[in-house]
Structures are given as C-alpha cells and as structure tokens.
Amino acid sequence: MTPLPIEIPALCLVVLIGPSGAGKSTFARTHFKPTEVLSSDVCRGLVSDDENNQAATKDAFDVLYFIAAKRLAAGLLTVVDATNVRSDDRKHLVALAKQYHVLPVAVVFDLPEALYHERNQSRADRQFGAHVVRGQVQALHRSMRGLEREGFRHITVMKREDDVARAVIQRTRLWNDKRHEHGPFDLIGDVHGCLSETCTLLRKLGYRIEGTRQAPQVTPPEGRRALFLGDLVDRGPDSPGVLYLVMAMVEQGSALCVPGNHDIKLMRKLAGRQVSLTHGIAETLEQIEREPPEFKVKAREFIDSLVSHFVLDDGKLVVAHAGLKESLQGRTSGAVREFALYGETTGETDEYGLPVRYQWANDYRGSAMVVYGHTPVLHAEWINRTICIDTGCVFGGELTALRYPERELVSVPAEKEHYAPIKPLAPPTQLRAGLTLDIDDVIGKRSVETRFGRRITVQEENARAALEVMSRFAVDPRWLIYLPPTMSPPATAPSGDLLERPEEAFDYFRSQGVREIVCQEKHMGSRAVIVLCRDLHTASARFQIESDGRGVIVTRTGRRFFKDRAVENALLDRLDHAMTTAGLWAKLDSDWIALDAELMPWSAKAEELLRLQYAPTGAAGAAALAAANLALARTTARGVDVAALATAFAARGALMQQYIEAYQRYCWTVTDPSDLKIGPFHVLAFEGQVGLAKSHRWQLDVLDALCAVNPSGLVSTDRRWVALGDPASEKEAIDWWHAITAANAEGMVVKPVDSVVRDRKGLLLQPAIKCRGREYLRIIYGPTYSEPAQLEALRVRSVSGKRSLAAREFALGLEALHRFVDREPLYRVHECVFGVLALESEPIDPRL
C-alpha cells in the first residue's frame, strides 16, 4: 500500500471536512495527538451531557472556538473535527486562523455516499435519518470548489476509503522557522546602496571579501554568518553593487537576508508593476540600467525568494526589517508580512508628512530578542528586548551591525551624506517610552522565573498591597533595581537564658555543607539601598532618570529615605567622594554602584516607631510598675503578705529600665547630615557585574577601602571569618558575639563566604542568618521577655516560614540585579523588585 502524503505546516489550523460517518474522528485519532483535536461532538457533550444533542450546537461551537483560539494564540497546531460541510461553517474557522496568523488547512472526505449511511446505521447513537447526511453531501459538493477562495491552503481531497487508509500526515517547517540555526550571526541594518560602507563593516567584522564587484567571494570568520535586515537598495550610490554582494553571500551560504519595503518595491517595479518613483528608487533604476540586462531578472528572483522574517536559535532571536510583535512571530499571513516590511502606523502623520509609527517595541513583552531596522535612529538602543540597528548610513549616519549572541554593536561611519533625510534622525529620548510599565506586568497572581532553579509565585492579594505601596510611596521604578530580602534568625536555643545564639546559626550552615562563613557585626540602624551615579549623565544614560538627582537612598520598602533632598545629596556626595578617593570608580570600571547598607541612627528613620511604639511602652510601663510597686510596698507595710508579688514586680521594674536603655542606645539626635552614619555591607552591583554574587571577602575588601576614606561618616563592618568544624575558630566568633552584644551591638549576621550558595537540590541557601543579642531582643520580644517563664514560652517558634520567604525574596532580588546588569528591559527588573515587595506583605511573625 503506497502511502498518501498530506503535507501540512507545523503550525496550522486543520479543518476536517466531511459528512457524518466519513470517519473524521477515527482519522483525527490516528494522525494527531488527542489534545490537538477539538471535536464538535465532544463539545456538545461538555455543554449538554449529550454528544448528539443538536440543540446544543451553538453553545458547543462557542466552546470549540474559544479553545481553538487559546491554542492558536499559544502557537499550537489545532484540528477541528466537525462536519464543516457548509461554507458558512468554515468561515468562522478561516477567520480564526487569520486572526492568529496561521494557515487554514482543509482535509476533505468526499467518499461514496453509501458508506456514510452504512456507518451511521451501525451506530446506535446516530438517530438522524439518511436525508440529513444527503443534505451534508450536497452542501459539500456545492461548496468544495470554493475552498481556496475561502482562504484555505494545502487542500487535500480524499475520494476513496483507500485514500483515507493510506494517508500519512507530514508536518513541515514554515519558511520563517530557522530555530535550528544557532548562529553566531552578524546582523546588519539598512544598507540602502552603500556598498563601500558595507564592505568596510564586513571587513571590520572579520569577513574577507575577494573577487569582483559583480562576482564577489566572501569568506566569513569561522562559523559566523551575516544577516541582512533588508532595504539593501535605494537612495545610496550603488544599489546593484549591494545586491551582487548580498546575492553572492546568500548563495554561498555566508549570509541570510530578509527583505525590506524598498527591496519589495524594486521587485514589483522590475516585475513590470506600477510604483511611484519616489524615496530613492529612481536612482536605483538608473544604476540598474548600467548593469547587464540579466541582472534585472536575477535581482527580481532573489528578492522574491526572500522570507519576510526569521525565527532563529531555538526561538531566541527574531529578525524582520521593521521588527515583529510577539503575536506575529513564527506565524504566516498577509498581516505578518505587512508588519515585517512596514511596521505599524497609527494612521496619523507628523509635521514632515510622514506616517507616525506605532511604537510596538514599547509594548514588547516577548522572550525572543527582536532585531530590526527600517526607522533610522541616531543610536541603536535597546527597548525591552528589541533593538533597531538602522543608524541612517545613507543619511550620513552610521552602518551598524549587532553581533549575536554577543549583543555587541559594531559601526562604521558613512563616507558622506548620500541622501538628505526628510527629517532629522530621532534622538534616543523619543524612544524612552520603552520604560512604560503595564499594570499587567505586576498585578494579579504572578509567577516570576528566576535563574536560581525555581519560579517564585506572588499571590494576588499581596500584589494588590504592593501596588499601592509601590505607586504611592516608592521612588521611580527606574531607580529601584533591588529590594533586600527578609532575614531569618537561627533555630531557637534549646535552653539557657538566651533565645538566639551563634551555635545554632553555625549548625544551619554546617548542615548545608558550608565550610567557610563570615560573621558580620549587625549595625543597628535602618536598612538602606543606595544607588549612586558618578554624575547626572550616568543617571540619564544608565538609569534613564532625568532631573531626579544622581542617585537615591531607599528604605527596604522602596521609599525614599529622606524627604529632604539636601540630606540625600549630602550622603551621596559623601559616598562619591569616598569612591573617588579610594579609586574605586576606576577599579570597578563603572560609573555607578549600588550598595546595601545600614543607616544610623535608628531614630533617624524609625522615629515614628519610637514615638508611637517603643517609647510609649517604656513610658507606660515605667509609670505603671512604679505605681504598682508603691501600692505593694504600702500593703506590705500593713502586714499583709504580698511578698512574692512585690519581688516579681520589683524585678520587672528593673527590666523595664533595661528596655528603655536598650532602645535609647540606638538613638541620637540628628540636626545635620553629618550626624548620620552609613554602614555599607554589600556591594550589590556595578556596571557589568552583580557584586552580591561575588564572595563576601571581595565585597568587604571593596567596602573597607571605601570606609577607610571617611571613618567617621562611613562605618566599616567588623567581622570574624570562621572555618566551620574548627572549634577554636568557632569559639573565637562566639566569644566575639558575646562581647559585642554585651556592649552596644544589635548582634551579628552569619553568611556563607561564597555569598550565593545552593543546596543539593540546586535551590538557594539562606544568604544570611541573623543572631541577635540578649538586650537587643527586648525591643523585639518585649521589655520583660527574659523572665524565665516568658523565655520558655518564646522558645516555641518556627523559622521555616521565614526561611522560605527569605530564600524566595533573595532569589527575586538577586534576579533583579542580574537582569539590570544584563540590561534587560525595565519591566523585567521591576517584576522582580515588585515581587519582593509583594512577598514582604505575606503574614510572617514579624519578630523573627
């Protein structure tokens, strides 16, 4: 039995057409995955509990169309198993295919009528009479010849039972599907007849060009290929020369090419069609007249063979002359081709009479990188994950290439202005709208993919809380490249007069296989994330921030730390001076840096908390206990036995005083920025690097150099390095912790020296465990928490929820830094930072 091949594109809408009893369902079952097939009978069952209930037809098809639309939007091949014998039945499906830019494919069952009757009679559930099927056959025959006109492509008609049996479905790759091509590529923007610059650029990229103008021989660097983004011709001095070059390179396999609108227009002209001779085509035609006559045919055939866009490298790269929205990538339709060639316009025209372009790149949320040309810009600049590399060579700008996957831009200047532009090249500021954030980037239940082995889920109610805080209180999202994770304490000490001890913190890291840890003194102030640029230019160039200073200091919830900009500026200047003096700008080779720090005194930021919670508790407690002790003393004096009560309340009075001293220790009056101290402890990021991912040894070395410049204003972080398993080393750190907490320190933070460490499952370990001192904990657990009965009750606490939260927030924060350093679009950075803020609203015991 010879197979009957039916070729269909890998992504399409397959419409099975044939009367009841034609064997469509069996055919679909045989050749397609069960999830690919949408059956109208099944849908009838879903909406009415009866697969043959004709009254449910409308509802059934609503369901079918809905599912089909979801599948096609997701880029999944879909088979519709219904009779589809009437043109009207099919109209909706063709429209659906068009809407999602996939080809509608028809597979027609036109078998002998007797066969349908025979099959239907043998089925108990098919109760309709022969006239129904006869009607279907007639309808099919009436409309069959119009299938192509209806919009179907790949029409297969099976006339005999034997055809059905022999059928073999062959799924073919679409022309634009070059996922298997992994590059590396050198993507080249609009050439417009600038042959000389093109050759210069290719040479600069390492291509060897030999042979003659009409028969060039190009040897690319090992493994690389050029990829021309269209508009090879028009306006420039030698459009035919460029065509010779690119045609040869494509033929020799050293280049790929997508067409531009100018190329298509030229092709139409060469095919004898009417086109208006404006925008530089007249010059091209003149140049072509000087070429041998067969050139016209070659050029026309070449352009005609070009595919309007490519999806490359497993879908990671998309190229098209005018770019391509996500919903059109890898799809085929007239609309896709239109967009790829011309982009989209808003229907308005600007003051130069040119169409106003719809800035699709601003809305781009796709995962593929899109590289395109078409609209000349002054500089190539990333907008979301897209970049336009037409830098207007023909207008006297530059010819630009993007090296992929290196993402490196290589340009050569135009030799002259070959053609006067109608309007000046757009300065990049006009593209800044790419920084727009959509409400859908943050709201609703979301899940954020991180490079740390897990997706982080943000619940809707947490996102809602975060939206309010982010909108009302946070700084401009462009500054907000990081928010710090929460931090867990160690497991509770099992006995003794302490709740937290270094021993349990060490145990955690030991149990996770960590060898080297660092214990850092925990400054008692308020957490501050600092972004500092060397100058306003860097703020604008790197953070796209105009006129909002050269840096920012924010709290752990992203609020500006200081209302008074003069204070913020004074602190930023202090840091900048230290960075400069210590030579760190040069050493890090960056014009900006982000630091994680503690800002002291605590009272500077927490004054409200002190005023509303800490000091009142002390005031009320001291007064109430004094009155109680007085009443008890007088009762004792009367000879009534209240001794036990008197002793307990006297002790409590003393604890209340200790509590008041505990919070007062971290407060001092600030009258001037010089009263404020910064204690930096993480280098979060700087140009090209995520500092937080580097070892704490490296980070502290940098910060020591920074703090040494200004010891009174920049407080260095004292630390002890511990080799876990070495009892002497551990004891030294434990003794140190006892000493500093007996003095003024809040406690210490224990971190793995390697900073970002994963467990056996590949998930992130706790980045840090805080170990707080006995006196400090009065501020947390209450003035009298150290009474034995309270201490015992407090030992019952679980840190697992806090740990889970800390790990998730750390993953998101670190992800945000990586994305920012990798120059990912704003919304990609923001969704992580927003996620940290949202997670912070999860109910977790705030004392931990």
Partner: protein
C-alpha cells in the same frame, strides 16, 4: 496595670463588703491572659483603698486566641483599658453587695486612681467625656514620653484621679465603659455581644453628649485581609492604617469646611461632563466614590469606572455605592478596579472622559511623567478633567499654618501659574486644548481654593 479605689465613707473598710474582698488578705484570680491581684494598700475606718493589679502575660496577648496585637513591645500590660474593664466586671462584681445591700445603693465618697490611662485624643477629650458625669474632682496629669528625647513630643498617657459622691456600681460602670473607649484599642475582636454589653452597662450613656464618640470607640471595626497585608507594609500606628488616612482626610475637610468645597468641586466636574456630552467616565483616583455616587444619580452616564490605587478606598467606595445591593441594571453601569496611574492600564481606554479630582497632588512631582503618558497618551479620552488645590489660596485658610499643605499626603500644592504651565505642556505634547476654571469662592488676589483644568482632545487632522 493598676486601678485603685478609695472611700472615706465611714466605716471605710465596708468597701470590702461592697466588692466582696477582705481587706486583711491579698487574693488572686485567673484571667485569660494573666492574673488579677486584689489587695488593700490602706484599710482604716477613715480611709480604705483597694488595689486591682493586673499581671498580664504579654506573650499570651500576642499568641492567645483571637490575637490582635502584632508586637510584643506594646503598652497593653500597663495601660488600663479593656483588660482592666474585664477584670473589674470579673473581680468587683459590679459593686452589688449581699452583706451591705443598702450601702451599695447609697452614693458615698469615692475616689478612683488610674496611674496609666491612654488617650490619643488628648486631655481635652478625657475632660469632655468625664465632665458630664458629675464628679467633684477630675485630675488628669500627662505622663512624659521619654525625657531624654524631648523632640519626640508628649506621650498619649495620663494619670487620672476621679473623686465624687456616687454609688460604687456607678463608678465601676463608668470605668468599665470609658477606660476602653478612651483608650480606643480593644484587646479582642468585637463580636455582636459587645453591642449588648455596652447597652447593658450604660444607662447613663444615653444622655451623654459624647455618646457617639464613646460608642464608636468602644465598638471597633474589623479589618479585611487586604488591609492586614497592607498593614505589614505601612507602619503607622498600631491602630489601623486607614484611621491615619481618614484622619488626614477629615483634617483636610475641616480646613476647607467653611466652603463645603468638596461638594462644589464635584458639582463643577459634573457640570463639565454634562457640557461635553460625556456618557462614559473613568474616575481616576476615585477614593471613596463620592463623585461616582453623584454620577450614578444621573441617568446619562451609562458606563462608569472608578479606579484607585488603594484597596481600602475601593472597599469604602463599594460600600458607599452599595454595589452589592444595586439592581442588575444599575450594577451594570459601574465598575470599580484597583489600578495605578504609574502603570499603563488598558482598562482606562475607551471612555468619553477621564476625571482626576484632587489626585495629582498625591503623586510625587518627579513621578508625574508616566502618569501623564498613561492618562493623556495611552487612555487618551476625548475629555480629561483635573482638579487640584490652588496653593495661593492657602493663606486664606485660618486653620492652616503658613507653608503647610492641606493634606498630610499632598506631595505638592501648585499656584495657578504652576498648574497652568503643567497643563499647557501636556496639552501641547498630547494634542489637547486646555481651559481653566476656578472652583469655590474667588478671592481677587489669590484666586479660588480649587483649580480645574479641562482638556479636550483636538480632532485628528
């Protein structure tokens, strides 16, 4: 926390019969969250004082059933409030006595001493609440917050001494209701029976001029889950976040009250919408939905959307608009949605008009850029109406300090020139014509209290 009650009615030791506790002994009683101790610091025929000392377990307060306190560091074990009220009713038996029934019904000389009472509303409120009750002496002494840091201001605590001639049961009833009410923070969730308790306890409350304040403080509202989440992020007071907002709103309303400006503002916006023939309106920053309520009354508006960044505001708006009880036809006219002008939202597109009444001044000036782009560039309705305070007028508000803003959350208040310059820039960039109107009484030198800009989109050429 401590409460002492003293009598000089002789024989003073009969106080022991009235409360059923022997003056020669100290006794202890178990409470849900600790113990109550009763003892007598003095007990002579001339003068007898009983002390009720509560030894509160602070951990049980936080971890106990129906926990309502987030922090171990809190004043609940020390300030006499609802825990004291519970102890009074448990331990003092409401001043009814089997042994001295006639004495219990007799007004006698009594003195109550509360060493620590919290009242955030201040000393004047305590006086206003206590004065109508007929005491001969009311002494209210403020307690210092932290003498080391005078810049933190005063504390919300007072020591209170009350003296008068009244029945013990009356004194206890006053304390039972007023200690929690003055304090304003109940330690457990309010259930339905709390309303009954208040009614039972306070026949005297019916004629009290402050009865509404007392009742509203005594019966505290519940919070929603979203508010719980929000309170994790916004540290205000240990009272509800919303209270702070509401107080600021009230304050602004008070400053502007002489003009009932808000009413005029909403009417002015309504007029503009009608003039321009708008049928669908999105109210950006709808707050509690006052404008939406007004627009719902006009049948011409067939599609209304209120958006606000605050879930709490939206909950209140839903209450005000009675969304859950609207008939289907009415309900179909209106939607509420959380959104933020900082983010671009397609839901704001397709309306005849967008209004932002007293909204922009709540946004940091440096963050207005995206707001402008999202409202005028993206939503881009044919009509946009914006109102904002006129800063020039502030000098005419008697209750507003010079240079201060009308609302604690205002990030700026603009002069007419500043606002008009901002509007002109937007109109130019986004293709609108703008005209300005004044709302409220116009002062020749300073203009009107509120300024309004009306943006109409220019027809596409």
């Amino acid at each position: 926390m401590l409460l002492t009650i003293t009598t000089t009615h002789q024989p003073a030791t009969d106080l022991g019969y009235l409360i059923g506790k022997h003056p020669g002994r100290a006794q202890s009683f178990e409470l849900n969250v600790g113990q109550a101790h009763v003892f007598y610091p003095e007990a002579s025929a001339e003068r007898c004082t009983v002390a009720l000392l509560l030894d509160i377990d602070p951990i049980a307060l936080v971890r106990g059933p129906g926990e309502t306190i987030g922090h171990y560091v809190n004043d609940r074990p020390y300030a006499a409030a609802s825990l004291m009220a519970v102890a009074i009713s448990r331990v003092f038996r409401r001043g009814e006595s089997k042994e001295r029934p006639e004495l219990a019904q007799t007004p006698i000389a009594l003195e109550a001493n509360v060493p620590v009472l919290r009242c955030r509303a201040g000393k004047a409120k305590i006086e206003a609440v206590l004065a109508p009750l007929g005491y001969e002496r009311i002494e209210i002494e403020p307690l210092p917050l932290d003498p080391k840091f005078p810049e933190w201001g005063s504390s919300p605590y007072f020591s209170l001494r009350l003296a008068g001639t009244l029945k013990l049961s009356e004194l206890l009833s006053h304390l039972y209701v007023l200690l929690p009410a003055l304090d304003g923070d109940k330690h457990y969730w309010v259930g339905g029976d709390e309303v009954q308790k208040l009614v039972d306890h306070g026949p005297w409350l019916a004629g009290h001029p402050e009865r509404e304040w007392i009742a509203s403080r005594y019966l505290k509202r519940r919070r929603s889950l979203v508010r719980e989440a929000l309170s994790q992020l916004i540290i205000e007071d240990d009272d509800d976040v919303e209270d702070a907002d509401q107080q600021r709103d009230e304050r602004e309303a008070q400053i502007e009250r002489p003009l009932s400006l808000n009413e005029q503002r909403l009417r002015a916006v309504l007029d503009v919408l009608v003039e321009h023939g708008a049928h669908s309106v999105v109210d950006v920053g709808c707050g509690e939905g006052r404008l939406l309520a007004l627009l719902m009354e006009e049948r011409r508006f067939d599609r209304l959307l209120g958006v606000d960044v605050s879930c709490i505001a939206l909950e209140r708006a839903a209450d005000r608009l009675k969304l859950e009880r609207l008939p289907a036809m009415q309900r179909a006219r209106i939607e509420l949605k959380q959104s933020s002008l900082t983010y671009r939202d397609d839901a704001l597109k397709g309306f005849d008009a967008a209004v932002a009444v007293e909204v922009i001044e709540h946004i940091d000036a440096e963050r207005l850029g995206p707001v402008e782009a999202n409202l005028f560039g993206h939503a881009a309705p044919p009509l946009v109406v914006i109102t904002t305070p006129n800063a020039e007028y502030n000098v005419l508000f008697e209750s507003l300090n010079a240079g201060a803003f009308r609302h604690g959350d205002h990030r700026f208040e603009w002069t007419r020139e500043q606002f008009q310059a901002w509007c002109a820039n937007i109109a130019g960039r986004f293709g609108y014509e703008v005209v300005h109107r004044m709302i409220g009484k116009v002062d020749p030198a300073h203009g009107a209290p509120t300024q309004m800009a009306i943006f109409a989109k220019r027809e596409a050429a």
